[in-house]
């Protein structure tokens, strides 16, 4: 998994900082082993292998993340759906291959979060239909950031920043007393000069961004990216990038995906209902924001 994880902490002791950071990295590695779609030994792969066959006993973290994923599915009317696995594997973002319409149609019935059930008492998870796949790519990084921050706090760190490939959680204040300053990437940046479109100051908050430029390729003039609409199986149109801000990283990550698929208008409405803040750049490049955020975000240029 080529994900860049960066952990920054404020501490008066270099040794305790190093120890805390190492522990946080181990926690992230542990979660990766549980959630890795491409590893046959992960708990997620176990659930996928037993789809339509039997329920699988899983650890607390897996139960937790699946529970959160289902919650986000409900709140985004199914726009975020962790069972997107059966369709997203039809696309190859490295070899730049997009699937035939018939393949997508065939696998669309295998995408439905309602067929994923978890039992908190038995600690099990079950995928009802054979051929269904869970892919936690849209929520695992935010979840990992949350856990990493908890680990740092348990190791007596009071201020820091964890970034898991752009899913960020910040807590405490910097040594100069100021909050952590996060840059939001310009989805149509042409170089280093205009790569950041806005900055936002965060205290004890998480932020995630989903963009159509992250894993994408262009075939026959059409842009194929990895944020697929679970109802059609095709990349969602309507947004270039969506950034969500709230307390939990798992939610910023998953809602960023879900809101992207819902589109700008429905997206902002959903965010207001959830009480989250967000910045949406629609397909025309126009910026939409939730009302409360306007004071906290500084845009680089008017767009």
């Amino acid at each position: 998994m080529d994900t860049l994880v960066t952990i920054t902490v404020v501490s008066s002791s270099k040794d305790s900082a190093e120890k805390a950071i190492d522990t946080a990295f181990s926690e992230i590695e542990k979660l990766e082993k549980l959630f890795d779609f491409f590893s046959p030994d992960s708990e997620i792969s176990l659930i996928n292998k037993n789809a339509g066959i039997s329920e699988v006993k899983v650890s607390q973290d897996t139960l937790d993340i699946l529970d959160k994923a289902l919650y986000v599915s409900e709140k985004t009317e199914g726009a975020f759906d962790a069972t997107i696995g059966a369709v997203i594997t039809l696309y190859d973002f490295y070899k730049k291959v997009n699937p035939e319409d018939s393949s997508i149609k065939k696998n669309l019935s295998l995408v439905n979060y309602r067929y994923l059930t978890i039992d908190r008492n038995k600690s099990t998870a079950f995928l009802k239909k054979r051929g269904m796949y869970i892919d936690l790519g849209g929520i695992s990084k935010g979840y990992a950031a949350d856990n990493a921050v908890e680990t740092l706090k348990r190791n007596r760190i009071h201020s820091g920043l964890v970034s898991v490939a752009g899913d960020i959680k910040a807590f405490g204040l910097k040594p100069d007393g100021k909050p952590w300053k996060i840059g939001i990437r310009n989805p149509r940046a042409k170089g280093q000069e205009d790569d950041i479109m806005a900055t936002i100051e965060l205290t004890d908050m998480a932020i995630s961004t989903s963009g159509d430029y992250e894993r994408s390729f262009i075939n026959d003039g059409k842009r194929y990216h990895h944020l697929l609409n679970p109802r059609t199986g095709y990349p969602a149109e309507g947004c270039q990038s969506v950034s969500i801000i709230t307390k939990e990283g798992a939610f910023t990550d998953a809602f960023a995906t879900g809101i992207f698929i819902l589109g700008p208008e429905k997206g902002i409405k959903t965010l207001e209902k959830m009480g989250f803040d967000g910045v949406i750049v629609d397909s025309q490049g126009k910026v939409h924001t939730t009302p409360h955020i306007r004071g906290k975000v500084e845009f680089k240029r008017s767009s």
Partner: protein, 130 residues
């Protein structure tokens, strides 16, 4: 082929040009090595994307997965080297230990660069999302 024969093949301008080129390129080789700054951050990139940003002070061995296989990078005593790589020519390994500059394994698309914190951190923000 004797020396006289060789001299006959060349004009005065030829010889001057040869001399200047050798002088400039050799001095270039030494000069560039000196001018590069000693860095504190070891940056390992695959395909142009950074996958590791490590302090040069801590000895460690990391394995990165390039397009052809695993390249193993070792940091020890404030120096960096590539110990193993799946490429044919093993040029990257032959470069040995470096204190500054970079080592490139072109076939595996792995680049190891020694840099300073200033080029790593974006001066305006603490992190970038998106």
């Amino acid at each position: 082929m004797n020396l006289k024969g060789l001299l006959n093949s060349t004009t005065i301008a030829d010889r001057i040009l040869l001399f200047i080129l050798i002088l400039l390129s050799l001095s270039g080789i030494f000069f560039i090595k000196e001018v590069l700054p000693k860095g504190q951050i070891v940056r390992i990139e695959i395909n142009g994307h950074p996958v590791y940003l490590l302090p040069i002070e801590k000895d460690r061995i990391v394995s990165v997965n390039g397009s052809e296989g695993n390249t193993i990078v070792e940091i020890k005593n404030h120096k960096v080297r590539i110990t193993e790589s799946p490429c044919d020519n093993k040029l990257c390994i032959q470069q040995g230990w470096i204190e500054k500059g970079s080592i490139v394994c072109l076939p595996n698309r792995v680049v190891v660069i020694i840099g300073t914190p200033e080029d790593e951190s974006n001066k305006r923000v603490d992190a970038i999302t998106g």
